[in-house]
């Protein structure tokens, strides 16, 4: 994996020193909170509901075992023994104390990590397909491009004060696992007619209060043009984007107000100016970065033990069926470790679990770990013969839940249990959904289903692209949950449709059950997924199931 150059190292260390002195000045009163706030946000430090929160970037979701152990150490030393992995491939600590934050940033720098640009109106952590470098359907590893973008965007003088935050996601596969269409810039690798790799460039996607699917501004961008083109997009946005209204400042609004055709023309015009200024150093750098992402030395060994175990052990089989994904090397598997044990907080891992995952990655996974935007941890390269022993170790640590892609594999933002912006809780809704359907033993029968929960309109929980989306709101001083159906975060991205009036906190789990019982009744066969069934029958049958009980109550 990529290792810091001397430049990276010096830059991150200098920033830690800078912030250390800023914290000192805040604590001795030389800086007011108004002066300090933008400085702490630039370093990922928020003040939340009950405490500070530190958001740490995990660039393109890639972690080494060494880094994972350091997160565990930070959790034990300065926090409450756990970390929360987020939908943007970051990790958040919910309980740091202000005087300790410089030491935490120092400990991060020791393992080539930082919290720079995890907040503020700048280019945020560049995210990527969590199966990068391993997926069978991949054209090329997207991480070298993400790393190039990270280096280019870090402290980029032109783009530190954009109209609003800016999120870029890259996928190296035509099958989009990085929700690229819901990003300010989405890059999806494809091949042109000549078979050369390039990117489809989508601009102006985003969720939040005005959800929009990104517009394709370039069908095929040669990979060598990536930086000048992305710079052209940022440059047009920086000039055109609205600074008068925070709610209209994201590039999706700029695209909407300018029109897809006109903004495409402006981007291309700016690109024509910028392209000649890139003399090839970016390509030299890219070539160096690429070497750092060379595939591991795959082992060549028999997989009979795996096949035998798969046939013999039903618990292992259930886990293998849900948590493994096809690897480009037929002897290998991609393992998704579920951080969604029924009743647990989605995305949370204890320090012990972090250390175990680090050990397992070292022992069985070519020392590679990933964080997915779906808040799970991935071991991208595991030889199939190692899977039974790996599974046994995971089960012992409470990490063997066989539910990836099923109902209880829920994305949930921290919601009003932590977040100062939230309008309702989301974690307990996720917990109750998972335990309720586990008790009913229904989730395997229901099959592939993505439930995504946000505790406010900002949609960190991606509810708009959930097959079932749940949005927690404050309705006249009471928590109220609005349901959307039919959302999809893949290459066929769709924003979900609202069902109608929302449900109270105590009513939301029964409401979801009514939707799912209706689905089980109306699906043509067991293989027709919820999303397929919704696309076939539309909203009406679900609406009926959802609100019929209520109207009966009214009539009584």
């Amino acid at each position: 994996m990529y290792s810091y150059s001397d430049f990276d190292e010096a830059f991150v260390r200098a920033r830690v020193a800078q912030f250390t002195s800023q914290v000192d000045r805040r604590l001795d009163g030389s800086l007011t909170e108004d002066e300090f706030r933008p400085l702490r946000l630039m370093n990922g430090l928020y003040l939340q509901l009950h405490a500070y929160m530190l958001r740490i970037a995990i660039p393109y979701g890639t972690l080494s075992p060494h880094q994972m152990r350091q997160l565990a150490y930070i959790a034990d030393t300065w926090d409450k023994g756990y970390g929360h992995f987020t939908t943007r491939q970051n990790v958040q600590f919910n309980w740091p104390k202000l005087p300790d934050v410089p030491a935490i940033l120092g400990a991060l720098a020791d393992v080539e990590m930082h919290a720079i640009q995890t907040s503020g109106n700048c280019v945020r952590n560049v995210t990527a397909d969590h199966f990068a470098g391993a997926a069978a359907d991949e054209i090329a590893d997207p991480r070298p491009y993400a790393e190039l973008l990270r280096q280019w965007s870090t402290d980029h003088p032109e783009f530190q004060f954009l109209p609003r935050k800016f999120k870029i996601a890259v996928t190296g596969s035509p099958n989009d696992r990085a929700v690229t269409k819901a990003h300010d810039i989405g890059l999806r690798m494809i091949r042109n007619a000549a078979g050369e790799p390039g990117f489809e460039v989508m601009v102006g996607g985003g969720l939040g209060r005005t959800p929009m699917i990104g517009v394709t501004v370039r069908d095929f961008l040669p990979v060598a043009d990536l930086l000048p083109y992305v710079e052209a997009v940022l440059s047009v946005y920086n000039t055109l984007g609205r600074r008068d209204n925070k709610y209209k400042a994201r590039i999706k609004i700029t695209v909407h107000e300018t029109g897809a055709e006109e903004i495409t023309r402006m981007i291309e015009a700016r690109f024509a100016e910028l392209r000649p200024l890139f003399g090839g150093n970016d390509q030299k750098l890219l070539a160096e970065i690429r070497e750092a992402f060379a595939p591991p030395a795959f082992r060549n060994a028999p997989v009979d033990a795996y096949d035998a175990f798969y046939k013999a052990d039903p618990v292992f089989r259930a886990w293998a069926d849900t948590n493994l994904t096809e690897h480009r090397n037929a002897q290998y598997s991609i393992v998704t470790i579920s951080l969604k044990a029924h009743g647990a907080t989605p995305g949370d891992a204890t320090s012990d679990q972090m250390r175990l995952m680090a050990d397992l990655a070292e022992k069985y996974g070519h020392s590679d770990l990933r964080i997915s935007h779906e808040q799970n941890v991935i071991l991208p390269h595991v030889h199939k013969s190692d899977l039974p022993v790996l599974h046994a170790a995971l089960v012992k640590a409470g990490l063997g839940t066989a539910n990836v892609g099923l109902l209880s594999d829920i994305i949930a933002c921290p919601g009003m249990d932590y977040c100062a912006l939230a309008t309702a809780r989301s974690i307990p809704v996720a917990q109750e959904l998972a335990t309720h359907f586990e008790a009913l033993k229904l989730e395997h029968e229901i099959g592939p289903l993505k439930i995504k929960i946000s505790g406010c309109i900002n949609a960190c929980g991606h509810h708009h692209v959930g097959h079932i989306g749940i949005l927690g709101l404050d309705r006249a001083g009471v928590e109220n949950y609005q349901i959307t159906l039919g959302g999809d975060g893949t290459e066929d991205a769709v924003i979900g449709e609202k069902t109608g009036p929302g449900f109270a906190y105590t009513e939301i789990v029964p409401a979801i059950e009514r939707i799912l019982r209706a689905y089980l009744d109306l699906r043509l066969e067991a293989s027709e997924t919820f999303l397929q069934a919704f696309k076939r029958v539309g909203m009406e049958p679900f609406k009926e199931a959802l609100y019929e009980a209520e109207s009966e109550k009214d009539a009584a």
């Binding site: 909170e33 249990d417 974690i427």
Partner: protein, 101 residues
């Protein structure tokens, strides 16, 4: 006729720890909501908020939150403020644990 003033308390987070605290009538900061000063007059509320905001080395983000009188002192009226009195619902962390002993 002017609208009736909803009683308020002054709340903030401690600068160093981030903990939720409430301004008492005795000018101290308490972790307990029911020890807060219940303010029934709008002008007085503004004065108390100014007083709180001036304590830059102690607290961050002071604001007025709705409250009501209860048998043991002021009680929150909104669920957000209720959550702030105890901590998150997924773990026994925050006040619910810190104040239990």
């Amino acid at each position: 006729m002017s609208r009736r003033f909803t009683p308020k308390i002054v709340t903030a987070n401690r600068l160093r720890e981030g903990d939720v605290v409430y301004l008492t009538a005795g000018d101290t900061w308490s972790p307990l909501h029911h020890e807060a000063e219940l303010i029934e007059d709008e002008a007085h509320a503004q004065m108390r908020l100014l007083h709180a905001a001036a304590q830059k080395l102690l607290v961050v983000g002071a604001y007025l939150a709705d409250a009501k009188a209860g048998p043991n002192g002021p009680e929150p009226t909104h669920f957000r403020e209720e959550f702030r009195t105890r901590g998150p619902s997924n773990y026994p962390h925050g006040k619910q644990a810190d104040l239990a002993h």
